[in-house]
């Protein structure tokens, strides 16, 4: 047993008072969870401390909360590890080790607080989930037996089916902080569960819906917060990126030109080996290798709109090498290096594999399995 101190952000709506902090001492094995600490506090000290919880095993998704500022599940965060993180953060902030500091526990972000750690998930999380038409839309009569589908397609969407709707990703989402109307990581991961499902007959309509909504798939800023927060390895951002890729494949216009911007990197590197920044803007907004440009009105508008950013970049020193803006000046890779770059492209195209935990396991595990299989052959 060890002693820990938890510092809980409390809010008692009937008290007429605003939120406040309260510290509690708990006595737990380090391997027990932050939720165990809260339950011990409820049981022994203060039964009015409100926290949703049920399974204690990271399957019901009730106990989403922020622990030392990080969104996750209370039941899945060991108290010993939470203490280490709290101490590490404190010493990083002050530059010195100052012993044990309290473990800070707060309600989830991006949601109104009802009481203590209980948030209003209905008005945010669930409203957004319902926004993505979260049910299968097959066409015609169901077959007499099961739908026959590629085995891997079911494993593929099992990663997003593994979502337990805990809201940790929503809590951590930086885009939603800036745009509360963003459909968000959980709902978009749920959307992929249908878009990736070969039984769904309205995949294209779904993609249009999610791409054309200004708060849809292109509202994600690719910050990885949701991947860090997700307790079930759903990797919501990966699912959003897959939605974008599928939207791109369907030729759906990306209002931010994000897809074209991404493809600009791909094309330039394939051709030149390193990033030729003089081509980046035009390639992003008016794809087509130099000389064959047919920029649309929108592309011209976007390119002109980017000029102030470029000027700011030069002024602040972010863009240091002016010649890089002059087409043709960009250096070539020495010797046969460009061939090697293209070999990498070929390899990637030939091994067009999705990274999916249900198919592959974690990265290290994947390498190990492959090594074992090679040894067995």
């Amino acid at each position: 047993m060890a002693d820990y101190t938890i510092k809980v952000r409390r809010f008692q709506p009937e008290s007429g008072e605003g939120p406040y902090w309260e510290q509690f001492d708990v006595d737990l094995e380090p391997s027990l969870s932050v939720l165990d600490a809260l339950l011990q506090t409820k049981d022994r000290e203060d039964g009015s401390l409100a926290v949703r919880c049920s399974c204690r095993a990271a399957i019901c998704g009730s106990c989403g909360m922020k622990i030392n500022g990080q969104s996750g599940l209370g039941c899945k965060t060991q108290i010993g590890e939470a203490q280490e993180l709290a101490d590490k953060k404190a010493s990083a902030a002050t530059g010195a080790s100052n012993g044990s500091v309290p473990i800070v526990i707060e309600p989830m972000g991006n949601m109104p607080v009802i009481k203590d750690l209980v948030t209003d998930m209905e008005s945010t999380h669930w409203t957004k989930i319902r926004r993505v038409t979260p049910w299968l839309l097959p066409h015609g009569e169901a077959p007499e037996r099961e739908y026959v589908v590629e085995p891997e397609s079911m494993l593929d969407i099992t990663q997003s089916m593994a979502c337990i709707q805990c809201g940790a990703c929503v809590s951590s989402c930086l885009s939603m902080e800036a745009d509360p109307d963003f459909i968000g990581p959980a709902a978009l991961a749920k959307a992929y569960r249908f878009v990736g499902d070969p039984r769904d007959a309205e995949t294209v309509e779904r993609l249009h819906d999610l791409a054309e909504d200004p708060h849809g798939i292109y509202d994600c800023t690719h910050c990885f917060s949701c991947i860090d927060a997700c307790p079930k390895d759903v990797a919501p951002m990966d699912q959003i990126m897959r939605l974008r890729r599928k939207a791109g494949e369907e030729g759906i216009e990306d209002p931010n030109s994000g897809h074209d911007h991404e493809m600009a990197f791909v094309k330039i590197i394939e051709k030149k080996g390193t990033l030729d920044e003089s081509l980046l803007l035009q390639e992003s907004f008016a794809p087509g290798v130099k000389g064959k440009l047919k920029p649309s009105k929108r592309a011209i508008r976007e390119m002109l709109g980017s000029i102030p950013t470029a000027i700011r970049g030069i002024r602040t020193g972010k863009m240091r090498s002016l010649p890089k803006l002059i087409p043709g000046v960009h250096h070539k890779l020495p010797d046969g290096a460009q061939d090697e770059v293209q070999a990498i492209y070929r390899h990637a195209e030939e091994h067009n594999e999705e990274f999916n935990l249900y198919i592959k396991g974690d990265e290290g595990e994947l390498a190990e399995i492959e090594a074992e299989e090679a040894a067995n052959d």
Partner: protein
Amino acid sequence: MVGERGDPASRIPTAKSDFGSIASALVPTHDVLVIGAGLAGQRAALAAAEEGVSVGIISKVHPVRSHSNAAQGGINAALNPGDSWESHAFDTIKGSDYLGDQDAIEIMTREAPEEILHLEHLGVTFHRNEEGKLGTRAFGGASAARTYYVADITGQAIMHVLYEQLMKYSEQIARYEEWFCTALAMDENNECCGVVTRNVADGSMELFQAKSVILACGGNGQVWKPTTNALICTGDGIAMAYRVGAKLMDMEMIQYHPTTLAGKGFLITEGARGEGAHLLNAKGERFMERYAPNKMELASRDVVSRAEQTEIDEGRGFPDGTVALDITVVPKKRVHEALREIVLVGRDFAGVDITREPIHIKPGNHYTMGGVKTDVDGRTDIPGLYSAGETACVSVHGGNRLGANSLLDTLIFGRRSGADAAARAKRIAGSRPSRKVLEDEEAMIADVNSRAKGSGRRVSEIKLELGQTMDAKVAVFRDEAGIKEAIEIVARLKEEAKTAYIDDHGSVFNQDLLGAIELGYMLDNAECTCLAALERKESRGAQYRTDFPERNDDEWLKHIDLEKTDDGPEISYSEVTITQWEPEARTY
């Protein structure tokens, strides 16, 4: 392509009530009211809505938090060409130690394939074989690989897909998410006509009116500590039915699952053994050779749990009171594909990489085979009151439930209850509940609130003593002395609960108050389980009496029924339905 919008609460249909003191009060009214929103409840609601009646579904937690989530391994159905419902039925009957009712088991196993296909058509992402068709895995007590699954999140996957359907049919099915039920409402003919609820969000009390009420509130695992069950599994439905006079059946039959983590009680799916994992004692022996030489680790759960407990009790376990589950013998690729959840449970809750080393496990409280006595359409012996899933006892599980039959039970009898409840609603005019039941419940809550701090014991203390008592005395092995001790302790705890105090006296999200009400439910469940365990003087399925170690078909091939009287539960018996499988000796 537009999802559901708007506030579900604004769609609550109401009817004017002219009963009671508040003549103009609006009573939320549905033809069919489902209490509990796990698999049984959601399936019942969808089936009732299909019949065109108005449906409400009430749950004390958000539906996707329900404990059906925790069913990892899969769902049984004889759907493969080489398999047959008779084989599935026989395995279930043998697994039940012949206490299951064979008419009900026939229905469940015959209807299983169609239900699996229905789920598949709704969108459940079942595992596929190489041909892209539904694939199966092996499970305990089964003579064929007939378990359909989604990795090891089968319950979660099915429940989230059913919830998708609830969202889709939100016009027909009103959802009351985070509403807690405190009592059933009865009319003057002793028919069930509604339920008293508390809106958890604001503490307001409401009397709901319905022509049919379906209890699908899950089991009572929290009566034991530790348990694999969630904190919400407090036997609410069983207790509410018992309190209005419905019969309970086979309450002594409590399953201990063979593979739970020591201390925390977390579940390691039987799918692990289905994939080939071994059980080892501290000497490294595969001890199941001595207990079930044919089925080994895949014998019925009661058999495996007793084998483990015997190894532990006789000193061949590890010092922490466990034996080991060795999953390293399963190919790693298969583990990642089919047992990913267990990799996470091992890593996060035991600090063990199950792909590299064995994990320590022990038998732990897991499932309530008994419950509210129903027929094959979910009808209890109170008109208008139905029950399905773990709350109910049809009985398809008898003395011991087979792995991957619980999800099936919830779906088959959830659907049948929903359909029959809807048929009743179409048939009858319905009666209005008296507001007295609401006033009684408000008085009960006022009483709990009035107890001063320190005036009695803390609710949490009583729960802990109850759980430890039941795990010590009414578990894998039982005897008269131990059960009698448990009965005395439970009786004392019931008295203490009357003065137990809480800290929170507010209206908004008062979990403290709900905990006190749940304690009452748990104590009623415990009392009934102890009495039935004392009554059954034989060993059958999960009930193993060290003082009566043999199964005794001559005297005890019968159900034990319990009914509430002013002096406590009254015991009676009912026949086990036998169709074509006469009881035989049970070996694996």
